[in-house]
Amino acid sequence: MTTPLIKPPRKDPLARTRLPLLPPAARSRTAHGLTAAAAEGRFALQVCQDCAAVVYPPRDACPSCLSARLPFRDVDPRGKLTVETTVRVSPEPYFRERVPWRVGLVKLDVGPMVVAHLHGDTREGEVVCLALKLDRSGAPVMLALPEKDTPHMADDPILRELTCDPKFRRILITDGRNAVGQAMAKAFADAGASAIFVGIADPWKPFAGEAALKAIAGVEIVPLDLTDSASVDKLAAQNGGRIDIVVNTAEHVRPGGVIGGDGVTVAREAMELRYLGLMRLAQAFGPGLRMRGADGVNSSAAFVNLLSVHALANWPAYGVYSAAEAACLSLAQSLRAELRPGGVKVLNVFAGPLETEWFQTVPPPKVAPAALAKAVVGALRQGIEDVYVGDVAQDIRARLDINPKALERELGE
């Protein structure tokens, strides 16, 4: 079993905050096939289309038959940890700070031999399950996990280094007025977050669920209005240094396309709250997150964007909404690159229509706020970058892969 994590003591205010360092990030273009799989929490290796050999490390030609047709496919992640060692001295600044560090060779059942980081509960000679993880530099690495779950296994230091587990971390949920923000507060409380700051705009307006939200253990209501730069800056000035995960739950869902006669007022409100709101949040909290990426057990870890899957492909029935979501996705891509030097991940969570008031007339399947919150916590524990929650999001993702033009037509019908 893993030694359970204890709640980190208060920081010595006289000690310097150590700056984040990153493990080596360079990968070939072909090897980014592993990045793509790791970003979604899949385990994929190259499989030769001509001779069916499973290939690792990534190559441009099959070592068995020289075929260049080597697409990445999800494969069985199980294998045997044949040999292990413990690195005690490393020339790499990142690893120097983290030794001793266990690594080993895993013989996969599907063929290849893989060098992997080792979870503390793996043993030489035993069956392990490999996972592709994104390390602090955003590069894909192999991690060997015990075949079956072990007690407190999420508290393993190497696993925690590769993920964004909310346990003992301090969370900012940007909008607690809506059902999603409230479900998120509950989910993070259940996940062991040590503090949950929940933003409320226009406190003079009562809202449904107010009493229940305030009753969740660890929740602290803070004034926050993403449409107001001064409000965002003020909260960051007061609390930015002790927020480890930002979860942007602001939503602006309105039906309607471009030429429906609403002018630009609604679109402007959507962009003000969603796009500029995200920018304000990132500008106010980004520098602190990036600086605190190696700040102990409760280091900064992630910035979570809740996005409509229609950020990827516009749904004209909600056309203006889809476009604002697309703008947020684009901004999140920039933010991801800008936070990477701090080892901080940007998690984009794509969902179809939610089981909320603004999607009242949309038929199921819809994603319940609690299911969305559970998916967010799960994705942070996995350390992934992109997650597709629910049937609609997964369906859009799949159809986009096959034929984006067909999807565009079908969404417009």
């Binding site: 226009d202 406190p203 003079w204 307006k205 009562p206 209005d225 449409t227 107001d228 730069s229 001064a230 409000s231 309105r254 609403d262 007022t265 609604v266 409100e269």
Partner: protein, 260 residues
């Protein structure tokens, strides 16, 4: 008749013989605005974005861009704001004769009644009783409803319940009477609107808007410091921004009162 002595007026202002009372709420992002059902178009709240503050964006100067709706903060309602006043001449803020921006005020104190009942409704007998003490409401005056609502915190000020806002305002018949029988210039309140919070249930709905603007009269709302004004004798300066075809505008509202 001699020409008015404007210089002695200016001297009286600078000497303090005429006091200037600011009836304006400070424009801040936090100040409540009208809350409408979310599927309807919304009035934008006040927002401020720094252009530069003696920094790399402008080394020696500080300035901001601001944005808001025409009906945000302490603001003026022009007749064109309401459907009943849409076809009147000179009904927008840019075409209202500027002499109408300076006028005397009758201040009707309903603060005790409003403290006792958030849905307090101003009636004709209430105004007649006021006239019994302070004289007839003069034609061309503002009628300002003092409720001390501006002294409340933001939540109590908006006072939103599950069935909507609960704030004081005028009954339909008193608005009609003030326009037709007293010929007032306009109606002003401390609350978010000139109408009562439950005014959409009146007949006609939103009577202060319907009757005032239907007869080319004006509205002032989100006023403050009405408790500093005498029942009669104050002169109001309320000049909205000159927005082409503007339905209203945030503005600085000043009252001039003679020092005792």
């Amino acid at each position: 008749m001699n020409a008015p002595d404007l210089l002695s007026f200016a001297t009286a202002v600078s000497s303090g013989a005429i006091r200037v009372v600011d009836l304006t709420q400070t424009l801040t992002p936090e100040f409540p605005i009208i809350a409408l059902p979310p599927e309807l178009g919304q009035c934008a709240p006040f927002r401020l974005e720094e252009i530069s503050r003696y920094d790399q964006r402008g080394p020696a100067w500080y300035w901001n861009n601001f944005s808001m709706g025409e009906h945000t903060g302490t603001h003026f309602d022009a007749p064109i704001h309401w459907v009943s006043g849409k076809d009147l001449p000179d009904n927008a803020v840019d075409s209202i004769p500027p002499r109408n921006f300076i006028a005397p005020a009758c201040v009707v104190d309903c603060s005790a009644e409003s403290a006792a009942d958030a849905d307090f409704t101003l009636t004709i007998p209430f105004v007649e009783a006021w006239e019994g003490k302070h004289g007839r409401v003069a034609a061309g005056s503002w009628l300002l409803l003092r409720t001390d609502w501006s002294k409340r915190d933001a939540r109590a000020y908006a006072n939103l319940k599950e069935d909507g806002a609960h704030t004081p305002g005028p009954a339909p018949e008193v608005v009609k009477w003030l326009v037709e029988e007293r010929d007032i210039l306009g109606f002003g309140t401390e609350t978010i609107g000139t109408d009562a919070g439950q005014g959409h249930h009146f007949n006609p709905p939103f009577p202060a808007h319907f009757y005032m603007h239907g007869k080319g009269r004006y509205g002032l709302q989100c006023l403050t410091n009405l408790d500093l004004l005498p029942p009669t004798g104050a002169v109001i300066i309320a000049a909205p921004l000159k927005i082409r075809q503007g339905s209203g505008s945030p503005l600085r509202v000043l009252a001039l009162i003679a020092s005792r």
